[in-house]
């Protein structure tokens, strides 16, 4: 195969990735889009095999091991564990990119020109940081490490020193053409991945996974420069852009800057509860009264939070919704961008519970519907429905986009207690005249509600 034909076939693979991502723009075409992208990948692999002097033993062993591990992980993972799986996959992608650049380095050491050295070092550094950073994110999400920010004195200075060391090792690698400087650079990058991610709290993980996603793409693109391959450069750029957009969407939804997420050591991890002064009267309700309110509503908007997913209550929720729909009640779900542990996570959890995708509404669509909604059912969500973010300029979450539950006729909040959410602040919605509180565990409340609905 001539290099020209090979280059064009790689371009075709890249086009398949672009078409695949385009088809991910709608739930109707998304699955076929994924297949198109996978076909592009297969083609890139075949084109490479057809024209390279490969070691079939090394290749076969690596592909067999990786294929089995990848398939088992993909087919067995629970949907709630999706964030840590994606974090792990990001890490493997970064590791592969760093290793390819490393293998090229040891093969051509001694005669590397500055530009080539730069691409190799960037590929190794970004890949290695992505690898260990993703491992830490995985460990935090999996509960192997505390979700709380892990901090120590002079943390930022340590990171700055590591980064300076990284750059120095890079310059030294080029000047000396010596492998020891290169190994030092790789080692420092591995350490830096750990030290950059450990101070980041569990609730900020959606941002970090998106950012590592972006980095895994950039690492692949850098490797594309090392081996002069446009398929890697294009695919890497696409993924880099994708991860960056999702990172921005997540930080916007949290009303924070990326710098604040990375260096703020914010929050105390999952389900943090600071003690705050509570004020005002709350009105409480019972599952029986709730059943009546729901059964005679025209439209019910459910606002799920991560607490619902932790309790694995989305299946009970679906059962209640099915009963309401049977009675002619319109049920839709209002989903805040940070409702899960990664972008779009809550949508996947509800899709798993058999909720049709046209009932999953985003923030804007939900808020447009709420003033014409009879009952809002808030399940395990707190800060994302806090009107203080809209009304109280002194509130720490002021400016954060919220689902404006208080604009609906009746708000019903199912919650174990009045304790504040992640941001550690009180929620005026709970004391609103239009709000009824049902103090209960979400899963049990929904089970009770299903029984109560049978007798309405």
């Amino acid at each position: 195969m001539s290099p020209e034909v090979q280059a064009l076939l790689y371009l075709l693979a890249a086009v398949a990735f672009i078409v695949g991502l385009q088809r991910l723009g709608s739930p109707r075409t998304a699955r076929s889009g994924n297949t198109v992208a996978a076909a592009g990948m297969l083609m890139a692999v075949v084109v490479t095999l057809a024209d390279s002097e490969v070691s079939w033993v090394v290749l076969g062993a690596g592909a067999a091991a990786g294929g089995v591990i990848g398939a088992v992980l993909a087919l067995r993972v629970h949907m709630t564990a999706m964030p840590q799986l994606v974090a792990a996959f990001n890490g493997f992608g970064g590791l592969a990119s760093a290793l390819v650049a490393g293998a090229v380095f040891v093969a051509v050491i001694g005669e590397i020109e500055t530009v080539d050295m730069l691409t190799i070092l960037l590929s190794v550094a970004i890949g290695a940081i992505t690898f260990t950073g993703s491992l830490v994110a995985y460990a935090k999400l999996q509960g192997l490490l505390s979700g709380s920010p892990i901090t120590y004195p002079a943390q930022k200075i340590v990171n700055a020193v590591l980064l300076a060391g990284l750059v120095t090792a890079g310059v030294w690698s080029q000047l000396s053409q010596d492998a020891s400087a290169f190994w030092l650079l790789g080692g420092l990058a591995l350490v830096l991945g750990v030290t950059l991610v450990i101070p980041i709290g569990g609730a900020d993980m959606p941002v970090i996974i998106a950012l590592l996603n972006s980095l895994s793409g950039v690492a692949a693109a850098a490797t594309g420069f090392v081996i002069t391959n446009s398929a890697l450069i294009i695919a890497g750029a696409l993924v880099g852009a994708s991860g960056l957009i999702l990172t921005k969407l997540m930080t916007d939804a949290m009303n924070r800057s990326l710098a604040n997420v990375l260096f703020g050591a914010f929050g105390t991890g999952d389900g943090a509860s600071a003690s705050v002064a509570t004020g005002g009267q709350v009105r409480t309700t019972t599952p029986d009264d709730l059943a009546i309110a729901l059964a005679y509503a025209r439209r019910v908007v459910v606002i799920p939070g991560y607490g619902l997913a932790v309790a694995q209550a989305q299946h009970q929720l679906r059962a209640v919704a099915a009963e309401l729909e049977r009675r002619g009640v319109e049920v839709v779900y209002g989903i805040h961008p940070v409702a899960g542990r990664m972008p779009g996570h809550m949508n996947v959890l509800l899709a798993e519970a058999d909720v049709p995708y046209d009932q999953l509404l985003d923030l804007e669509a939900t808020n447009a519907l709420l003033p014409r909604t009879d009952v809002v059912l808030v399940l395990g969500a707190n800060d994302v429905v806090n009107p203080a973010a809209r009304d109280d300029a002194g509130s720490p979450i002021y400016g954060m986009p919220i689902i404006e539950a208080d604009t609906a006729r009746t708000v019903i909040v199912v919650k174990r207690s009045l304790s504040p959410g992640f941001a550690g602040i009180d929620n005026p919605l709970f004391y609103d005249d239009g709000t009824l509180m049902l103090f209960a565990d979400a899963k049990k409340a929904l089970a009770d509600l299903a029984i109560a609905l049978e007798t309405v």
Binding site: A14, F17, L21, L24, G25, S26, R31, N34, A37, A38, M41, V45, T48, S52, S55, G62, A65, G66, G70, A71, L73, A74, V77, M79, L85, F89, G93, A96, S97, L99, V100, A101, A103, V106, V115, G217, A219, F225, A231, I233, I234, A235, G236, A237, L238, V239, A241, S242, I245, L249, I335, P343, G344, N347, A351, P356, Y357, Q359, L360, D362
Partner: protein, 99 residues
């Protein structure tokens, strides 16, 4: 003939803009499959890993190539499979014909 690195930079910048255009059109509902799917696409580095297995007479390069192939294959196979599994759960609206 232009330096391949310059050509690479041109391709990278243009592809980034294509990426921004494409991804901003993906609805929030699909953001998780988008992440796992794009993650599988970043496994394209498997091409580099395959080429690296051809580096001869160097044990370190051989070990790196083996590990790179394994890691990239996990990324590609796992990424596309889990994305397909997730997208298979997205059920069509009731008023339409079921699949």
């Amino acid at each position: 003939m232009l330096d391949p690195v310059v050509v690479g930079v041109v391709v990278f910048v243009l592809a980034s803009f294509v990426g921004f255009e494409l991804i901003t059109k993906v609805p929030p509902t699909l953001h998780t499959p988008l992440m796992s799917g794009s993650n599988a696409i970043s496994g394209i580095t498997i091409v580099g890993a395959i080429i690296a297995t051809g580096i001869e007479n160097d044990v370190v390069a051989g070990v790196f190539a083996f590990l790179a192939v394994a890691a990239a294959t996990i990324n590609v196979v796992g990424g596309f499979l889990v994305t397909d599994r997730m997208l298979g759960m997205f059920r069509r609206p009731k008023r339409e014909e079921p699949e």
